[in-house]
Amino acid sequence: MFNLIRAELYRFKNSGGYLFFMILASLLGLLTVFSTGFDTKFEFTIMLSNVTQLSYNMVLLVCGTLLTVFIGVSYNNRMSYYEIMGGNPPHKIILAKTLSMGFISALIMYIPTAVLLLASYINSGKQTIENPAMVFIILFIITLHTTISFILYAMLGRNLVLASFVPYIRLGILDLIVYMLVFQEFSEHADNKLLYITTNSQMAHLLTKTGDNKLLFIVLISSAIECAVLYILVYFVYKNKKFK
């Protein structure tokens, strides 16, 4: 699996500047927030609920599109087939792709929001959250969950066109449906949020409204559910060898 990870990261770094543009988009997201004269002395919780929704989701959308397009292209030019023809079992291929690309992408997408939150945490004197470190951890898990699900959705589509719509479908349509279905109820009843946080683009609300440990549990469970379902679907695609 080490070879698969190395090869995948090598191509991600060297092909078409995907990695470069992803880092650029991420940094631009950060700069955009600062260039609007944003005051980092805001309360940590306000930062969470307002800033992250805008910058975090935009970065997620742009970087996510770059990520899924990269994966879609590798099916179109059939570079991904080398992994199969090289005798690698499906679970190794899926794990290598999701872990390597998912982790690197999550790290890149996480940076702007993490920096903003850190600035707020340092500058604001008034803290309303008991364990701020947990917020950073939860935020990274959610970002990692998002990138891994992007990758798995793109692997499920195995096509550039389908792959390029993944972030919009995942963050836009799916989130919107879930938001409309459960958000009102969620606001009233904090317990009913598993489905909501599964798509989690507005997770900042949750971070401010619930206990850290409980939220961490929910985030882990919901991430595991979506990723496991997608993993099984992609596994069967690879197992049944449905390649053009």
């Binding site: 080490f2 070879n3 698969l4 190395r6 090869a7 090598y10 191509r11 060297n14 092909s15 078409g16 590798s74 030019n77 059939r78 570079m79 087939y81 080398y82 992994e83 199969i84 023809m85 090289g86 005798g87 690698n88 079992p89 049944n240 060898k241 390649f243």
Partner: protein, 304 residues
């Protein structure tokens, strides 16, 4: 120990109701160059995709290196070039090779330069693949296939779209590989003449079925002008040919008929000698065909 490194037994593949590969069985021996020949749509690529693990068969079995177990593990000893070259056009030739190096776990980069030289891309190694011609892409794909020193090389129409010079180059490249690296090659084409100077064995396929599996030697014999003689006792016939007529250039096929490559202008003498010995002639005819004609007779000219 068996010399068979690649074998299919009753391999079958259906797409919906259409049977693309139908009960296909054949073997490839170590060190041989086997040509898989058939018209477009005969099922050549599907067979190779099943070998590569890109498509699942609906029946039959595939054996690699004498076993149908651990196919994935054994695929690591094989390199495939299926259909068009699989290349990342946004990377240079060298970086495409380096990607394969990482994927196959090749420890050093030294061999990359050698392979690029071998396939004639030494000067274009830093050029992006999107600027490559089809011929250069094909060469690079072959280079990527041989980088890991595979024991078997599976090439699906590697000369497709190449100019005559390119075809000769690829042919030379494959010959060198077989002689220098002792690679076994399975190569497909829909044009027999492309493979006629290369292959040691042929498997002719049409409509997903194996039409004939034949060695290059036997194919040459079958295509050479000869007298086909069929009698009620083939062993005695052979004795008569050697003893009475002094014919040494002949070959017995399937214990049924003899192909005689001498005395083509003296069929009556052959006929008289056989009948005088008390044997009954069941068939006596002068035959011969070009490789192309032979192939067309097998697959049906209209399909090509």
């Amino acid at each position: 120990m068996s010399n068979i490194v690649l074998e299919t037994k009753g391999l079958t593949k259906c797409y919906g109701k259409a049977k693309v590969v139908d009960n296909f069985s054949f073997k490839v021996e170590k060190g041989h160059i086997c040509g898989l020949i058939g018209p477009n749509g005969a099922g050549k690529t599907t067979i190779m995709k099943m070998m590569a693990g890109l498509t699942k068969s609906n029946g039959g079995s595939l054996e690699l290196f004498g076993t149908c177990k651990d196919l994935d593990r054994n695929r690591r000893r094989i390199s495939f070039l299926i259909e068009n070259p699989m290349l990342d056009i946004n990377m240079s030739a060298y970086k495409n090779m380096e990607y394969i190096k990482y994927l196959k776990g090749i420890p050093t980069s030294e061999k990359i330069e050698d392979v690029l030289e071998f396939v004639g891309l030494g000067d274009a190694k830093d050029k992006k693949v999107k600027k490559f011609s089809l011929g250069m892409r094909q060469r690079l794909a072959i280079g990527m296939a041989i980088l890991s020193k595979p024991e078997i090389l599976v090439l699906d129409e590697p000369v497709n779209g190449l100019d005559p010079e390119g075809i000769v180059d690829v042919r030379k490249m494959i010959k060198r590989l077989v002689h220098e690296e002792e690679v076994t090659v399975l190569i497909s084409s829909h044009i027999l003449s492309e493979l006629s100077e290369l292959c040691t064995d042929y498997a002719i396929i049409n409509h997903g079925c194996l039409v004939e599996s034949i060695t290059s030697e036997d194919l040459q014999v079958k295509c050479e002008n000869h007298i086909t003689l069929k009698t009620d006792d083939i062993n005695r016939t052979a004795t008569i040919l050697e003893g009475k007529l002094g014919i040494s250039k002949y070959k017995v096929f399937r214990d049924e008929e003899v192909h005689i490559f001498e005395k083509l202008d003296d069929v009556s003498t052959v006929s008289r000698a056989i009948t005088d010995s008390g044997l009954t002639i069941l068939k006596l005819v002068e035959e011969g065909a070009s490789l192309e004609e032979y192939y067309l007779s097998k697959v049906g000219g209209a399909n090509v």
